[in-house]
Amino acid sequence: MRKILASLGTPRGLVVAVLLLAMALLPVIAQVLDQRYLLSVSTRIVIWSIAAAGLNIMLGYGGMVSFGHAVFWGIGGYAVGIFAHHGVHDGWLQWPVGIAAAMAWATLIGALSLRTRGVYFIMITLAFAQLVYYVAVGLEPYGADDGLNIAGRSQFSGLIDLRDRGQFYWLCFALMLATIWFCARLANSRFGLVVRGAKSNETRMAALGFPVFRYRLVAFAISGGFGGLSGLLLANHDAYISPAMMSWVKSGDLIVIVVLGGMGTVFGPLFGTIAFFVLEESLKPLMDMASKGTGEYWQIVFGPLLVLVALYARGGLDSLLGRGRARSRHRG
């Protein structure tokens, strides 16, 4: 507790505290302001940041550019959707299965892709995600290209009603906090240090006696598990699933978020998700203000913005909050 209070003195601690407080009160704020849309966007932010935190384990701490992370959204989402389609709404069943399936798939593709390096790794993770995407496109019983409407939300023995937007938001928020807490612990655990060490110098870690492959594989599985969790929340939020939720552009969005927020940082994924949504929501009206009707073309500004981030701002938003630890660059 004292530690938490002490951290309030730092810019990061203060920003995080204010941010989390606002997020915790968001359903109330949305109600007072009568802004249902605000609550919906915020729910998406919270859900996306769980997946981003998962990807951050791979990308930020592990230095492995997984370009297929949206596939875990698909797996988690389809787990909920397919169960619901067959009349099974029990979340106690849907959710563990969804997360386990995501972790299992992560382990399988990890076992194959972690044998490769650099560009090959990027491409093979992308290709495996495409594979699942096309499997979903071919799944005629579950809507193929058009996707599937989900008739009922996941049910948890009546403990919580996910149809209630406020309750659903708070559940997502709690899960996000748990995810961030877990990732923060993980980063400084023995396991986390091995994964980070392998990012820094893989050969050295092997020479010390670490079978790097195994640790990366487990990191991949954990990372995928959070993706799966995020995906089943997303399916519950949208009451709809489709192959589009795991298109490769979504995987690109996730990478953008993690880099934007600050790779290998505890709150970076959350900052990045908020920035991503805020940019999307604000570029439109801003551009419309500048010249009416141009708002729908917001990506014509967002695209070059990403180029600039890649070129000049790799520390991400987190580094703006000071204590910018030396972060050297490594190829591939």
Binding site: R190, F191, L193, S200, M205, L208, G209
Partner: protein, 251 residues
């Protein structure tokens, strides 16, 4: 001296048409400092790579402590007590000196599938790591990022990392490469202080250091061992004189 701790049987490694290692059979005894010398391109680094498990020989065998370890990879060999340092400094630049050594301690402490407890504050890792830094003379540099250490300090850090796993045999690939005279002298002192506790195979170009430190010396020329013996024997060996000491790169 005791039984051979590390022994190779006719190791052969080819790269295309080039034979880098041509039937090398050497041994390192427990507690011995065995130096491997030879002109550039003699195949020393390739030999170290095969001993450490970084490369596989095309034929031949590597035995460690009486067991055939030819098929084991680098991590597996390290866990059995055969560790190496690198010719080109290889540390974790984004970690502090202490964390570098702590990871080496951690590697030795068993598996690292522990996900929640904070390893940075783990005294079982920190204390041995700090002791290791003290041993190589980096005790006051513990909290410095490895990337900010001087070249000589990084080489010392490498030794500390290699030692932290309490290896039974240490492969040292040119630990003095790129060092100034003062730094070299300190490294010689350090290596001398380590002698007798474990087997060491030292690859080094600095002949003064080699002849001062080694119990035995093997001379590698064009992938072959042309002589093995004490410093005096090597100095007197006519073939060595001709093939190696004769052509200026020696003493």
């Amino acid at each position: 001296m005791a039984e051979a701790l590390l022994r190779t049987h006719r190791l052969v490694k080819r790269f295309g048409g080039l034979i880098a290692t041509d039937g090398v059979s050497i041994d390192v005894r427990d507690g011995e400092l065995h130096a491997l010398i030879g002109p550039n391109g003699a195949g020393k680094t390739t030999l170290i790579a095969q001993l450490s498990g970084q490369q596989r020989p095309d034929s031949g065998r590597v035995e460690f402590d009486g067991r055939d370890i030819t098929a084991l990879d680098m991590p597996a060999r390290a866990r059995r007590g055969l560790t190496r340092s690198f010719q080109i400094t290889s540390v974790l630049p984004e970690f502090t000196a202490l964390q570098n050594v702590a990871l080496a301690v951690q590697a030795h402490a068993g598996h690292s599938f522990r996900f929640l407890a904070n390893a940075r504050r783990d005294r079982r890792l920190r204390e041995p790591a700090f002791a290791g830094l003290e041993l190589v003379g980096l005790g006051n540099r513990a909290q410095i990022l490895a990337s900010s250490l001087s070249h000589g300090e990084r080489r010392q850090l490498e030794i500390a990392m290699a030692l932290a796993g309490e290896p039974r045999l240490l492969l040292l690939d040119e630990p003095m490469a790129g060092m100034g005279p003062d730094e070299s002298a300190r490294m010689v002192d350090l290596l001398r202080s380590l002698k007798g506790q474990r087997g060491m195979l030292l690859v080094e170009h600095d002949m003064d250091a080699v002849f001062a430190l080694a119990d035995r010396i093997s001379v590698l020329v064009y992938g072959r061992v042309i002589a093995t013996g004490t410093a005096a024997e090597i100095r007197a060996d006519p073939e060595v004189r001709q093939a190696y000491l004769g052509d200026d790169s020696g003493t």
